[in-house]
Symmetry: C2
């Protein structure tokens, strides 16, 4: 069971999480809890660091931030013990949650599961600090954004857990962001691949690395709300019945910028050189589009998050100087996408998407596709509208759209009478 920051934000919420773990244990399960830092604790620590240094070293930042989860694990153990349930808390170091030494975004290498098993077999509920790891030489690392979910899945995989529950403050995974599209519907199941696409396309519930891990180690992930007992969304391997749904969900990624390089010499290795330099600065490139070369010159464009544009611009300007090409920068872009494993076997999805956007006069500036998704780059000001249009076009809201149709049909019927 993993409890995110909002689910352990204060003493009362910590007690609620403890009660949930005890209930599960009373149902005959062995329970491991993975917890995040309380509420805004990480923000508080980041603010402390900023008062000292605008760009603190990654090693010391990890040393600092890992205290957030350490506070929660000990409080959770106290809460369990106070309720009469034997418990023990572990930092990453204490259970050998070994990572590489890429501070602030470390990758897990191994977990000493036997220490956890021993305590579980002794009847204890084990609480593990999320988000953190330890290098072979004992330095504390953190796992980057969504790190606590990575911990959850990694621990579940190492223990060969039957069930892996991710408690958060929403009811599960939705067809799209309900704050933007009120008709968004909670999904009962979603495949790892669909979840991966949705997450990288802007859906904010689960970080990709956790889902990749879950897929790799075949861990079924149940995303649930810590404030109620509703069934959430089960993330599992794709089944045949899943393919009958053509589009599972839609996502919007705002705050994108596009960089276009014109007159790029059409020699082997030139494009590789561009992206090698960009990657070297840790700028994450979203989509890449290259036009067919004419007169020995090509046009290469790619999108990046707006926050990374200044750094990216510097690299591109240097390159343009060397290669004698010119660059253009466009901010204020957004990307709307639809995702579904059914696309593998169904046709007409792209046409339907483009037509629905065109009908609302939303101009498509770029199209990128994969086997199970279609993305359109559009103007940022039209982003939210586009998401609603696409969500409606594929009838993702379910009932509500059906009602509309029924109403239309009724109207037609009436007209025919």
């Amino acid at each position: 069971m993993k409890f995110g920051g909002t689910s352990v934000a204060d003493a009362e919420k910590i007690r609620a999480a403890a009660r949930r773990a005890i209930r599960a244990q009373k149902q005959g399960r062995q329970v491991v809890m993975v917890v995040s830092a309380m509420g805004k604790e990480t923000d508080r620590l980041v603010d402390l660091a900023k008062q000292i240094s605008p760009a603190p070293s990654h090693r010391e930042m990890d040393q600092l931030l890992s205290t957030g989860e350490q506070v929660t694990i000990s409080l959770m153990a106290m809460a369990l013990e106070e309720m009469g349930a034997p418990a023990i808390s572990f930092t990453a170091g204490q259970i050998g949650m070994v990572t590489d030494d890429a501070h602030t975004k470390a990758r897990l290498k191994s977990i000493a599961a036997e220490k956890i098993h021993k305590e579980l077999d002794a009847g204890k509920i084990v609480i593990v600090a999320g988000f953190q790891g330890v290098t072979e030489s004992g330095a504390i690392t953190t796992l980057g954004r969504g790190g606590s979910n990575v911990t959850l899945v990694a621990v579940a995989a190492a223990l060969k857990a039957d069930l892996c529950e991710n408690f958060t403050d929403v009811d599960g995974i939705f067809t799209t962001d309900p704050r933007i599209v009120p008709t968004a519907r909670k999904l009962d199941t979603i495949s790892y691949d669909e979840m991966l696409e949705l997450a990288s396309l802007g859906a904010n519930v689960l970080h990709n690395r956790a889902v990749e891990f879950a897929k790799k180690y075949n861990v079924p992930l149940h995303v649930r709300n810590s404030n109620n007992n509703k069934k959430g969304t089960l993330i599992v391997h794709e089944t045949e019945s899943m393919e009958r749904i053509v589009v599972r969900g839609a996502a919007l990624k705002e705050g994108l910028a596009r960089v276009t390089l014109n007159n790029v010499p059409d020699h082997p290795g030139v494009v590789a050189r561009i992206f090698h330099q960009v990657a070297g600065k840790n700028v994450v490139v979203d989509d890449i589009i290259q036009t067919i070369a004419q007169n020995g010159e090509a046009t290469v464009s790619f999108t990046v998050e707006i926050a990374e544009l200044p750094e990216c611009r510097q690299i591109v300007e240097n390159l343009c100087g060397e290669m004698k090409c010119s660059a253009r920068y466009e901010e204020h872009l957004a990307k709307v996408s639809v995702v579904g494993v059914g696309m593998r076997t169904h046709t007409g999805v792209a046409e339907k998407m483009f037509a629905s956007l065109a009908a609302e006069k939303i101009n498509i500036q770029n199209i990128t596709t994969s086997e199970i998704k279609i993305s359109c780059l559009i103007d940022r000001t039209q982003g939210k509208k586009a998401l609603r249009v696409v969500h409606d076009a594929f009838n993702l809201g379910g009932k509500k759209t059906v009602k509309k149709k029924t109403a239309k049909k009724k109207a037609k019927k009436k007209a025919n009478q």
Copy 2:
């Protein structure tokens, strides 16, 4: 260099401590900093725990509290790096500061000094988390009250440091508490033994375990003020010249209670049994006085801190039931003491002390002595007055008392003219 909680209470103080370390390094020294939790951070964590459980397990409490120092070490490293000084922070676990597993009051067993030496030799300032340790099996422990000073001395001893500076918010060790006796004077030097007596008699600057450690490993301890550059007080082995000062300091311990057992059977082992039971409940007994037995019965009395009286009372009542003796409890007591290695070779100290108290009508209820101290148990309401009287009687304030004498002499001279 050790910086206590008030000396690292905020970003500005952390920077000030960092600057001091850099100055020392520029003077050609290798510098290790031991730091406490920031200001009221430990109180904040204790309060969090209390919201969860009135009596949390010691293991989890240590897991929780150790985060306080971990926050400070990382911020200190950031401050140093921001000023251009290479630095690295270490938790107790990271430098193998191994203790026994007596959580909340663990005892240090060993330190892996080579890891610190390696970083020092690489030109770094090393920051070590005070107050914490780690057991052989990797559980986090804390060293109890004054634990950061224990860390300081232990690290200094392990590294065979030339100098060990304890930065705090006072100028050094005083002849007595300046808040009670305004004429109290800062001492330039004091012996380990005198410091040990003063600390256990109520002086609050340094905890005994740190001083014991310093004495055992021959580490000269310099107690200084982090807010200025004044020379503080050097705590060292006793020298011959020190013996010329009969009384080095005076101390007051308030909030004492006395337990008196009457009609205790005068058999071997009875007294041992009483204190065995009391110690079993972790009640610290201050002084013990036993009268000579009459008619096969003795009177045993001892003092405890007032906070421990309820627990102590329970034990004593049970014992009295078994042994058919009666007990009396007196609260509102205080103990005034004078300390000095010169007492070993000088006589008349006790007389002078008793006479000075008697002259002010302060009734002495018990007297206890050691080779280098004399303590008188008195009524609590007279405690502060008694401290001033004794401090004056032994001319501990120095100059100020001299001035008074000079003034008197002048007055005499005038009268004679």
